[in-house]
Amino acid sequence: VLDESTEFGARAARRLRDEIIGWLTTVTPSGAPAPVPVWFLWDGEASVLLYSQPGKPKLQHIESNARCTLNLDGNGRGGDIVVVHGTLRVTDDPPADQVPGYVAKYAERIAELNWTPESFAADYSVPMRIDVARIAGH
């Protein structure tokens, strides 16, 4: 979904790999967008792995409408825009502490927030994936 031979594709891929926070937006049953900051692990292709605490609104939202976006922060001046468009579903991925790529990306934050990978995985126990339809930006 990203052509990394283009300037945008290369930059978007680097940011999707490196950035800690993405803004996941689902849509409530009444049609309101609901953006929340999330941790995420992009697989380099068309799938993004997330973990949710149980009972969170986004889990209810996707029961009636699975469409979502994940946007990264901009550069504060209107540039460096990366928006992932897709659909969100609960998956049977292993717990976060058993996904080395996820633990490696978030090890520092997990430690700073006084979690272990195991306790994080116990709190954020619901694996989810965005199936990416396209990645837009500039």
Partner: protein, 139 residues
């Protein structure tokens, strides 16, 4: 709705809503997909945010069918400084951007950087919109 600027979150949120140049306006398409776009905005310090759109933009179609939106600011990249505004957006009778001194003042540096005069910007972004805030949330 007003922020209680005697609390730490509200004071920080108010400062960022006054100073941040870019917000992410999220509308919803008629088929239910969210559409986040970066946008300039002017908060009135209370419950209203002034925006301008180009006339042909798809967000106007989305808003005509569903005025519910969110406007979030960038995070600090780690996990703090989260500010999310919820509300409804409608086309408004506000004057053009070049006749709103606070809007021009806030965005003067970016206008200059992008080679726009206030008049040129106002001609391009000719549709005034108001976001009526129902809730401001964050941490």
């Amino acid at each position: 709705l007003t922020l209680d600027e005697s609390t730490a979150f509200d004071a920080r949120a108010a400062q960022r809503l006054r100073e941040a140049i870019i917000g992410w306006l999220v509308t919803v398409t008629p088929d239910g997909a969210p559409r986040p776009i970066p946008i300039w905005f002017l908060w009135d310090g209370a419950s209203s945010v002034l925006l301008y759109s180009r006339p042909e933009k798809r967000k106007l179609e989305n808003l005509a069918a569903n005025p519910k939106v969110a406007l979030h600011l960038d995070s600090d990249g780690v996990d703090a400084d989260i500010v999310i505004v919820w509300g409804d957006v409608h086309v408004s009778a506000d004057p053009p951007a070049n006749e709103v001194p606070a809007y021009i003042e806030k965005h003067r540096e970016r206008l200059d950087a992008m080679g726009w005069t206030p008049d040129g910007f106002a001609a391009d972004f000719s549709v005034p919109l108001r976001l009526e805030i129902t809730r401001i949330h964050g941490w």
